[in-house]
Subunit: 135 residues, 2 copies
Amino acid sequence: MIRTTHQGDAIRRVLKKAGRPLAPQEIFDAAQREVSGLGIATVYRNLKSLQQEGAVTSVELPGQAPRWELAGDRHHHHFLCNTCDKLYEINACPEDIKNLLPKGFTLEEHDILLRGQCIACARKDSLQEVKKQPK
Amino acid sequence: MIRTTHQGDAIRRVLKKAGRPLAPQEIFDAAQREVSGLGIATVYRNLKSLQQEGAVTSVELPGQAPRWELAGDRHHHHFLCNTCDKLYEINACPEDIKNLLPKGFTLEEHDILLRGQCIACARKDSLQEVKKQPK
DNA sequence: GTCGTTGCAAAGCGTTTGCAGCCTA
DNA sequence: TAGGCTGCAAACGCTTTGCAACGAC
């Protein structure tokens, strides 16, 4: 039987509020503001059980610790900004994924991670270029 | 200045021979057979410097330690078998990747990981079903 | 001989686990 | 009150680092 606890509530609330995948440490920092004395182990334990009940999913990133997001009902992928390291949701999916598959292989899932520059960082960059030009 | 060493040679040879991405521990086990007394730290150090010189690349997998492969000249993706955990190269790429991108975002790289059952495991499964049927 | 490289062991770092006490139902 | 959940600290597994010795050039 699963009990409602302040800690678990806070963790869920933090994830919901963020609206983007968070690292365990980020969740810990934010949730600790609501529940003082919170332990990092509790964050991991809650994430694990939330994952088992399908309420959250982990997003694995190259060379980084996984981040966690509330499980949406929609299939989606992610975009990682190479500049600010922020992770975005992409609500689209290539049509021709299955065509990549060698013969005899069966496809069950697929992960796609796009990387580049997000709109916020792209704007900053072009602003800086404008600033630099007069020199 | 970079020196040639038995350890470094063995590591490169192991990667070349494997022809698929290997985990550091796998590389260590195989290279140790050629160079006894080899330390795991040396494997990590070599992989790191090989990566810096662009000779090898790391393949990041969800929830697993990265695996390493010799850097090919061809852009490719990977297929991870959910049954035998073996990682395959996919020499194809979706055409419409750029269409996924939100406006204002710029794409620099993309990773795709397909998962399912490889041809070897799919065959084993169908054999077992045949075996089971007579019962 | 120089100094890049190595093996070993210790240290790091993120994550998990053991345990006694707490708190929800 | 029962037993799931918690905080703490220790343990973990993988990776990195410090250091003295080794060996390629």
